[in-house]
């Protein structure tokens, strides 16, 4: 389906953890159109809303709804977190490339902090198509772990890690990756992504990293969201140095990008 912009209604606002909020939106056509790995741009026109839209992965969806799960980090997310049920939001989507299919064998999903949202619907989809799925949910500390129960129910095996050992293994999420993984999808802070990228280097395990970048448009027009290409397309010359996270991504193979 091609991109559209709809005005949708906020159905629910759930405080999932301190500073983390899930907004449930009534958005039937997006709920149908979105593919795992895609994202939306959320634009509020309410009081004090910032000028640009905010990119967000979708977290869950039902027939008529999608939800986004996010951490309050600045003006835009603070504004979104303050929206009451029945508020309106303009949502542009679906945006970005969906996850590419895994290789045969065990699929590992690695989510760090607020990197978990895009992985959840992917977990459901992968299980439905018969893959064995292992989720690694990591955070600095137990209070920052997100959606552990949802993943625990959705996947075959769910490993929890915290940097301080306050829950699950005392480890960085990337540290628990094992050779059982035949395809890896990771989303989280850049430090975690670099560690996963490092793990993948030299291995021939397809490893996908879902990136974030400051975005003005979300649909490829502004060239604002670039990441450095690890192996620039030589036919493009200097132009090939950067890839658009919103268009060529947000998910890249680990060897495609320099973080």
């Amino acid at each position: 389906m091609s991109v559209s912009q709809e005005t949708v209604r906020v159905l629910e606002r759930l405080t999932v953890a301190p500073g983390v909020c899930e907004l449930v939106l009534e958005a039937p056509s997006l709920a149908t159109a979105l593919r795992p790995g895609q994202f939306v741009m959320l634009l509020s026109e309410a009081a004090g809303a910032p000028y640009l839209a905010r990119p967000m992965s979708y977290f869950r969806r039902s027939t008529d709804t999608i939800s986004v799960l996010f951490k309050t980090t600045g003006s835009g997310t603070r504004h979104l977190a303050g929206l009451m049920p029945d508020s309106r939001l303009r949502v542009l989507g679906p945006l970005g490339r969906p996850y590419r299919d895994p290789a045969p064998g065990e699929v590992w999903l690695v989510g760090g902090g607020v990197g978990v949202p895009p992985l959840y619907d992917w977990a459901l989809t992968l299980r439905q198509s018969g893959h064995r799925v292992v989720a690694v949910i990591g955070a600095r500390t137990s209070a920052e772990l997100l959606a552990v129960e949802a993943f625990a129910q959705a996947v075959d095996e769910c490993l929890v890690t915290t940097n301080d050992g306050s829950a699950g293994r005392r480890a960085a999420a990337a540290d628990v990756l094992s050779d059982a993984a035949k395809t890896v999808y990771a989303c989280g802070p850049v430090g975690m992504l670099r560690a996963v990228q490092h793990w993948a280097s030299g291995r021939s395990v397809p490893t996908y990293l879902t990136l974030e970048a400051h975005m003005a448009c979300g649909f490829g027009a502004c060239l604002g969201c670039t990441v450095e290409a690890a192996h620039p397309d030589p036919t493009l010359g200097a132009y090939g140095r950067y890839l658009r996270v919103c268009q060529e991504g947000p998910t890249f193979l680990a060897e495609e990008v320099t973080l």
């Binding site: 991109v3 912009q5 000028y51 640009l52 839209a53 400051h214 060239l223 604002g224 493009l236 090939g240």
Partner: protein
């Protein structure tokens, strides 16, 4: 010719609403969303003679009623434009204006020559680029600007548009230089230099440190540039800077622009230019005009009358 049709600098437009360079790529991202033939024109992303990589680091930052960008004119270069983008774009029934960037007069000339041969609709010179040879910016040095425009003028019979920088004490010296060197029209304005500081680090948000401010925040600055030039020089103008509604477009026409371009507003809503095209006839007739041309320069006429001592005291 419909009531919406206009001509600026010899370029015929089916309606006076274009999309601004750098906010519409080469049209590809928008083509799935609506029929590009509905637009008055497309000012494509700046084209340089060789591919440019653009800037490292964060490239966009948000500001109040606007944004900063430091894309650094990333573009796939002339050959790619000629081989890939132009053959694709030319199928649409809309004026294609090629925005040209370069680091030397020779680079601007080369791109202009090539796109002229290819048969595009018009050339727009983005003169906010640093001149690598002299370390100055074409757009903020009148003599460099005169030289650049004269050289480009020699190689093209297309409508030649020069896009002025607002980072000067005023447009007139530059507008005059461009017109004297043979420009057919001027685009006003490019982005305003600005900085955003990151709350957490205390450092600049943008990798390039400074960026170009665009969006509604700069609309009054753009209107000043349009009015000032329209009142002083008989040259066609394309107005841009923060246009988001049909009413905004009317203001630019009244200030003296013969056509307008929509930029940053497309990022919040990619259908903005279409909405403006649809709503412009009503906005014009509410304001008492039957055609676009009637609206153009209302404020300029007032300005001329003031100058001639016939206006309000």
């Amino acid at each position: 010719m419909s009531a919406q049709a206009v001509s600026v600098g010899g370029l015929s437009l089916k309606n006076p609403v274009l999309v601004a360079s750098g906010t519409f790529g080469y049209g590809r991202e928008f083509a799935p969303l609506f029929d590009l033939s509905r637009l008055g024109g497309i000012m494509v992303k700046g084209v340089s003679v060789t591919p440019w990589a653009g800037n490292a680091g964060v490239r966009v930052a948000e500001t109040e009623s606007g944004m900063l960008n430091a894309i650094g004119l990333q573009n796939p270069g002339l050959q790619h434009f000629l081989d890939v983008d132009w053959p694709w774009l030319r199928r649409f029934d809309t004026a294609v204006v090629v925005n040209v960037v370069g680091h030397s007069v020779a680079e601007y000339v080369a791109v202009t020559e090539a796109v002229t041969a290819a048969g595009v609709g018009a050339v727009e010179l983005n003169v906010s680029c640093p001149n690598i040879a002299d370390g100055l910016v074409f757009g903020t040095d009148e003599r460099a600007l005169f030289g650049l425009v004269s050289a480009v003028r020699k190689v093209t019979a297309l409508p030649l548009i020069v896009k002025l920088s607002p980072n000067t004490s005023g447009p007139l010296p530059y507008a005059r230089a461009a017109v004297e060197a043979g420009a057919d029209a001027l685009s006003l304005i490019n982005t305003v230099l600005g900085v955003a500081i990151d709350r957490n680090s205390g450092q600049t948000v943008l990798g390039n440190r400074t960026g170009g401010l665009s969006g509604p925040a700069i609309r009054p600055i753009a209107l000043r540039f349009v009015l000032e030039v329209a009142a002083a020089l008989p040259v066609d103008l394309i107005g841009m800077g923060g246009i988001a509604t049909a009413q905004d477009a009317v203001s630019f026409l009244q200030a003296g622009a013969g056509a307008v371009a929509v930029g940053t507003a497309l990022f919040r809503d990619p259908w903005t230019a279409l909405r403006i095209i649809d709503e412009l006839p009503a906005a014009l007739s509410t304001a008492g005009y039957q055609t676009v041309d009637e609206a153009v320069g209302r404020a300029v006429r007032q300005e001329r009358e003031r100058r001639d001592g016939r206006g309000r005291s």
